[in-house]
């Protein structure tokens, strides 16, 4: 019987499309000159692109890479390409790229920020990729303290004892509910770490350092600069703003009037003023709000203000995530008898955060780009460094090369992140 099938068992090969539908000419006709108006636009754009490239490319390639000053650059270019040629002086990048990337970080310790940067990817891997074993999350939890230690150096016991604060908070939230009830436990879990950090963390770290001295060379904040500083401010801002943003978003939805007002007021205030005014506050006012005599350095103050800034935006992102969760999830959690914090921690937040990831990434891109504003208050990020570099006799007058390099740095990082965020969005999209 099987021999007598009337149905074809194999597919025929695909045939080429008819002549009028394929080939380069058709493609050009369809995509470049489908109509007269469109054709004109095509011609104009090709012309514009040509003009642009004709202006930039010769400048880019008729360049000098090895001169040690702008004047030498000009001479070298004139020598090589004829008198009057305007060419790029990439020598300045060649000489200063390390400074633009690492600021004033001691060059023999460059491996530390680099290592911290790569470990960052390990730390966020479990968030970004589903296939990574969940255990890596423990590393993610340790990472901020590790990165702090890598970048700033000093005694290892300082970050460890700071981390112990979180451990204290965690155990308070696990053990205490049985003793003093869940609300008390939550309050204790918030208060105890703060008490630990303020009262005990310092002495404990000092004591441990006395017993088992493990430390690496410490590097002061004044050595931070360049792209490292941008990344640092961006990452610290986003990482710290995540927990604060979650609390603010929850507070904003809270039925408790006072809590809600405080959260809404904070969020709307921060979102209503430009970042630069907050940075002015960091640079000129923040020390006034501290007890007389205390002062901490500008990098730290900027990080505080950037964190506050990012938290408000993060809160809005997470609020969006919370709003996207079906009401049934809340009801199901209630039906299981979970209290508010348990429901939030186990049911709501994991889903809300997952939905929010693309927005968190684009939030991060925005924040990362905004870190260039710190150049206005005198921190030497890549943009601030362009100014400092031009304050050298040799490079006074260099404009485009430095800006082009900084723009390229930011473009590469931000573009790849935005591509990733789009990929995530597609992956997370469950509708059709």
């Amino acid at each position: 019987m099987s021999d007598l099938s009337y149905v074809r068992t194999e597919m025929l090969d695909e045939k080429d499309p008819p002549g009028g539908e394929a080939g380069i000419v058709t493609w050009i006709h369809k995509n470049l000159f489908p109509s007269i108006g469109s054709g004109i636009l095509t011609v104009i754009s090709i012309f514009l692109v040509y003009q642009l490239l004709a202006g930039i490319l010769p400048w880019m390639f008729k360049s000098s890479w090895t001169a040690s000053s702008l004047n030498e650059c000009r001479e070298a270019i004139h020598l090589a390409y004829g008198e009057g040629t305007e060419g790029a002086c990439w020598s300045v990048i060649n000489e200063r790229y390390k400074q633009l990337l690492f600021g004033f970080y001691p060059s023999e310790l460059y491996w530390r920020p680099i290592l911290a940067f790569f470990l960052l990817f390990v730390a966020i891997a479990p968030v970004l990729f589903n296939k990574v074993p969940r255990k890596v999350l423990y590393f993610s939890a340790i990472y901020p303290f590790l990165a702090f230690w890598m970048v700033w150096g000093g005694s290892i016991w300082v970050p460890i004892s700071a981390m112990l604060g979180l451990v204290v908070g965690y155990y308070a939230s696990v053990i205490l509910p049985a003793v003093i009830g869940s609300l008390g436990a939550i309050v204790a879990a918030m208060i105890l770490p703060i008490v630990w950090w303020i009262l005990l963390a310092g002495p404990v770290a000092g004591m441990l350092q006395g017993i088992v001295p493990i430390s690496i060379e410490s590097v002061g904040s004044d050595k931070l600069g360049g792209f490292t500083l941008s990344v640092l401010i961006g990452v610290v801002g986003i990482a710290l703003s995540l927990p604060i943003g979650i609390l603010l978003a929850l507070g904003r939805q809270s039925p408790l009037f006072v809590v809600k007002i405080i959260c809404v007021g904070f969020i709307e205030f921060i979102r209503g003023v430009p970042l630069i005014t907050l940075l002015f506050v960091a640079s000129t006012l923040l020390n006034y709000f501290m007890p007389p005599g205390t002062s901490f350095d500008l990098v730290l103050r900027v990080m505080i203000m950037v964190t506050l800034f990012a938290s408000a935006y993060m809160a809005e992102v997470i609020r969006g995530g919370l709003a996207a969760i079906p009401k049934g999830q809340y009801e199901a959690a209630d039906a299981l008898g979970l209290d508010f914090w348990k429901a939030t921690r186990l049911i709501i937040m994991p889903q809300a955060l997952k939905i929010s990831i693309p927005n968190i990434v684009s939030n991060f891109i925005g924040l990362f780009k905004d870190t260039t504003l710190v150049s206005i208050i005198g921190l030497l990020d890549p943009l601030g460094l362009t100014n400092a570099i031009r304050a050298n006799q040799e490079w006074n007058g260099v404009v485009w090369e430095l800006y082009a390099f900084v723009a390229l740095l930011f473009f590469i990082v931000c573009f790849s992140m935005s591509r990733y965020s789009m990929y995530l969005e597609r992956k997370l999209k469950t509708g059709h």
């Binding site: 754009s45 006072v258 005014t277 002015f280 007389p292 780009k369 723009a407 935005s418």
Partner: protein, 406 residues
């Protein structure tokens, strides 16, 4: 609140009920939160007060009435260096509003055009728009502002080239506009006697246009006949005013920029700092708006345009009559936040020397008086009120165009 009424039936109140009784618990939490918040605020304020007292700078706004002592080049109201810091701040606020309004308008135009073109079937156009959007969005706006400024300064002719017997550069538009790298000089109108009537006529024709538009819409709804409204409106806009302009003997004349010793005198000048900031903010925000527009258009279901095509509408009409109006509902909310971003980003004006409120109040005034606390408080209050006003207005608009669901 309803729970509080029942409290009477319950056993006597005990202190522990503040925590364990769910009726009181929320009140307790709120009271504690409020107290903590106020404690924190009080702590910060007392620190600030004692620090400022130690520096001999008690909080006070008297400095606002002292003479500023510095000059501002781009201004909408009369100002000179003998006027007060307060006046300088006002000039700055108006400058902020000016660049924000100009920027929002052009950014919207750019955004819509680019957003639509990005979905164009023309391969090269859509690719170019993608390149534009991605390049602009992934480089910091501060860098764009600086780059735009540098580009304008380097590429436009300098004023000196307009000078001399045989100038290297010429004024454009019939010798009326001079585009230079320190600013663009344009003619200013001079209102002579009888110009009031021309202006009144102008206003009247604007009103007429509104009424005509309504009438035409009603007529179209009633009869289905479509008038060439655009051309008629244009005629109403131009003809009467022009007619009276000549009848009254050309009362409005233009004052052309004239080359003086150093620069053009007469007419208006739009400083390069304003142009570069305006351009950079428009291009930057325009890219974000373009993305919002694209998302909005793609959110309109394919069936809508197919139905429009089935009705025989041409692609342009389909876009402007069917797709864009529906897309608008999706576009407006991100548009609001982009407008707010643009306004806030305009504070980067100091990078190119445009004297907005951050440049005057938060810049030179702050520097010269040393009143950081007061200056920054006013500065933040300015931005906050602008932001709140914009978002309230735009939210009202958003409500008004929302699909009326029944």
């Amino acid at each position: 609140m309803a729970m509080a009424d029942q409290a009477g039936n319950q056993p006597a109140f005990r202190l522990s009920m503040l925590i364990y009784d769910s009726r009181y618990r929320s009140l307790t939490i709120q009271a504690v939160a409020l107290m903590l918040f106020m404690l924190a605020v009080a702590w910060l304020l007392s620190n600030a007060a004692s620090n400022l007292a130690a520096l001999g700078k008690p909080l006070g706004f008297g400095f606002l009435s002292q003479p500023a002592g510095y000059d501002i080049n781009q201004r909408l109201i009369e100002y000179n260096n003998q006027m007060s810091h307060g006046r300088a701040a006002l000039v700055g606020i108006l400058n902020t509003l000016l660049v924000a309004v100009l920027g929002c308008i052009t950014a919207t135009a750019i955004g819509i055009i680019v957003g639509v073109l990005r979905l164009s079937s023309n391969w090269i156009i859509s690719r170019l728009m993608t390149v534009y959007i991605e390049t602009v969005r992934n480089v910091p706006v501060l860098l764009w502002i600086i780059l735009t400024n540098a580009l304008l300064i380097e590429s436009l002719p300098k004023i000196a080239s307009f000078r001399g017997k045989d100038p290297a550069s010429d004024l454009i538009l019939w010798d009326s506009v001079a585009v230079t790298n320190s600013g663009t000089f344009i003619p200013s109108p001079v209102f002579g006697g009888g110009s009031g009537i021309v202006i009144a006529m102008f206003v009247l024709s604007l009103i007429a246009i509104v009424f005509f538009g309504r009438w035409a819409k009603a007529r179209q709804a009633a009869t289905g006949a479509i008038l060439p409204t655009f051309w008629i409106k244009l005629a109403i806009f131009i003809i009467p005013a022009l007619l009276f302009f000549f009848i009254m003997g050309r009362p409005v004349t233009l004052e052309y920029p004239e080359m003086a010793r150093f620069r053009f005198e007469g007419g208006y000048v739009i400083r390069n700092s304003l142009i570069s900031l305006w351009l950079a903010l428009s291009l930057y925000t325009g890219a974000f708006i373009a993305e919002a527009v694209r998302a909005g258009i793609q959110a309109v279901s394919q069936g809508q345009s197919e139905a429009a095509f089935a009705l025989g509408l041409r692609p342009n009409k389909t876009m402007s009559l069917i797709v864009l109006p529906q897309a608008l509902r999706v576009i407006i909310p991100p548009l609001i936040s982009q407008y707010l971003n643009l306004t806030k980003n305009s504070s980067l004006a100091i990078a190119v020397g445009y004297m907005d409120v951050t440049g005057t109040l938060g810049g030179i005034t702050l520097n010269q008086t040393g009143r950081e606390m007061e200056s920054l408080m006013i500065l933040m209050a300015c931005y906050l009120s602008i932001s709140i006003t914009v978002s309230v207005f735009m939210n009202w608009y958003n409500e008004s165009i929302k699909m009326k669901e029944r």
